[in-house]
Amino acid sequence: MASKAGHAAVSMDRRGGINDDIGEEKRLELYRLQVVIREAEQRAFDLFLQNLVKGTSHLSLGQEAVAAGFAAAMQPKDLSFCTYRGHAHTLARGVPVEAVLGELMQRDNGLMRGKGGSMHLTSEPHGVMGSYAIIGAHLPIACGAAWRAQYKGDKDVSVCFFGDGTTNIGAFHEALNFAAVWKLPVVFVCENNLYMEYTPIGDVTAVQHPAADRAASYGLERIVIDGNDADAVYRAAQTAFAKARAGHGPSLIECMTYRHSGHSRADPAKYRPEGELEKWKERDPIKIYRERLKQFGIGDDQVAKIDADVRRIVDEATEACKAAPPPSTDILFTDVYADGGWAWRN
């Protein structure tokens, strides 16, 4: 565990707020982000059961703390590069629930109006520079965005999320070395949820920690954190971002976590040993965080208010999506090229 902050001392300030290194306001944001992801993803799953989510979809139920912790540490101009399992990271950057559910439901109000689908969520205005469905592809791409920042003297950081399984593909290695040699302001975040699709990562990986145990190959510090504890994630993110912004190059952070549902909507996840899910559910990030809030003296009413608020937003988004029309088919041939069209001939 390289996050050195640990549990910082707590002191109540005059206004009854919390004054440790994170603070009440940030804690409420961290909680809220996790609940937004939880509720929206749970809704996506329900909608799938109702046959209203089409195509595939990959949920982050159980992994919310990673998305929330990083997003809460990001500046508005920082950039996110996600995988097909990118709803959480997209929502965490503030993309409306309706736009995300709309895309999953293939409606005209979807984030990309149905052209991309659940695996490719992208919201340029929110710094979500795409979700990539070919394993490993976005690690080099994130390097490129970070190169731009370095070249232009911009202070934004590129943050690239991926899974444990992704550490065994070639692009991972190329990107890490490239980022390290060029000292790029990019942060690589491995969400180790113990499985690739259906195969345990340990069955196919030469080291125990598929990302962290390889950091030294790129001259980087070995960092493994509790990915179910949003505070730990937030602190690790802050440290890495500060390093990146100071021009000291990339970080590779392995977050230990677990997905509560199957790999994708089609997967009942029967390959998991009995009791494993239950064990991890005891460490449910939202449960952990509710306790944390309590521990720091944040009232149940505040929590309940957030819960209700989020529920309402997700409900409204659901209704809006149900009411939304399918994408208008005139978008089929738009935006292949920058001129707006698709002409490959004159």
Binding site: G55, Q106, G114, K115, G117, M119, I134, Y198, L332, V336
Partner: protein, 326 residues
């Protein structure tokens, strides 16, 4: 005879060959214990055990490279690349290694392997998981390339591919996995390089592959019933070797050619065949050869959009009928 899905035919085809030859081994991501993400290889792990049916890391280059090294030295590997779109992360093996080693070594090395993969659209998976990439392979000298459209062909062509001494790329169509068909009992062994005329007709030849075969057939029925146009439908099945005899023979009788291609238009297999027919059977043609393809765009995810881009029965009917002036 038994009814079997295209999906189950994959496992049966592989099992038939693994039972026959202990040098046949199978590797890929999530293919063994979990039976594959399309459930097309369920049961193989139990039947043939962990030494012959192996789960790999997410390392497509390692998968294909290992398949090649094993093939060069005595095994007959079948490698799965989960989605054909992922050929792009291991294309060096497909384009530069498998097909060139024998030639470069002046015949010293061999490469008897099969790469099977889920190809094609229809699952609303979006632009990176829905492509038809047969032409990525057809264009590479030294490969063989097949794409079955029925359960029986899956088994027969799988057997032919495994027994073939050259590298064979085996395209399974994802949207055909649930499709059922009658399959003969016992061993089935087909031949690479053979097209199949699945409907005879006199007015035009329609060439189709994989998912486009049932659509072309249905279109032909409708053209007959609704427009009195009698089309011959040829399931191309094998892009390399290409059964130009069957194709040229059919065009020689019908004098018109249509291709129905799922690939985006530019440099699809239909382009190659049209160029062959236009050169070698020019004077047989009574009118322009017409290609019906997916337009040259990335594939959209939404059902309503995806359904608009692949060639449909309606589009085939409309295009053939318009061309024939019927």
């Amino acid at each position: 005879m038994a009814e079997l899905t295209y999906r189950d035919a994959v496992a049966r085809g592989i099992a038939q060959e693994m039972a026959r030859d202990p040098d046949v081994v199978f590797l890929g991501e999530d293919v063994a214990k979990a039976g594959g993400v399309f459930k097309a290889t369920v049961g193989l792990y139990d039947q043939f055990g962990p030494l012959r049916v192996r789960d790999t890391p997410i390392s497509e280059q390692a998968i294909l490279g290992a398949a090649m090294g094993a093939a060069m030295t005595g095994l007959k590997p079948i490698a799965e690349i989960m989605f054909s779109d992922f050929f792009a992360v291991c294309f060096d093996y497909i384009a530069n290694e498998f097909p060139k080693s024998r030639y470069m070594s002046n015949g010293q090395t061999k490469c008897p392997l099969v790469v099977r993969t889920g190809n094609g659209a229809g699952s609303r998976f979006g632009a990176q998981h829905s492509q038809s990439v047969e032409n990525w392979c057809m264009m590479i000298p030294g490969l063989k390339v097949v794409a079955p459209s029925t359960p029986t062909d899956v088994i027969g062509l799988m057997a032919a591919a495994v027994r073939d001494p050259d590298p064979v790329i085996f395209f399974e169509h994802k949207s055909l996995y649930p499709m059922k068909g009658e399959v003969p009992d016992g061993e089935i062994v087909d031949a690479l390089g053979t097209a199949r005329t699945v409907r005879t007709g006199t007015d035009a030849t329609i060439l189709a592959l994989a998912l486009m075969v049932p659509r072309a057939l249905e279109a032909a029925e409708r053209l007959k019933v609704e427009h009195g146009v009698d089309c011959e439908v040829v399931d191309v099945r094998s892009l390399v070797p290409l059964d130009t005899q069957t194709i040229l023979g059919s065009v020689g009788r019908t004098h018109r050619l249509f291709t129905v291609e799922e690939n985006p238009r530019l440099c699809g297999w239909g382009a190659e065949i049209v160029s062959i027919v236009a050169d070698e059977a020019f004077y047989d043609l009574d009118g322009p050869p017409v290609r019906i393809t997916t337009p040259h765009i990335p594939l959209p995810a939404a059902d309503i959009l995806e359904d608009m881009v692949l060639p449909t029965v309606e589009r085939i009917v409309e295009r053939v009928q318009r061309s024939l002036g019927a």
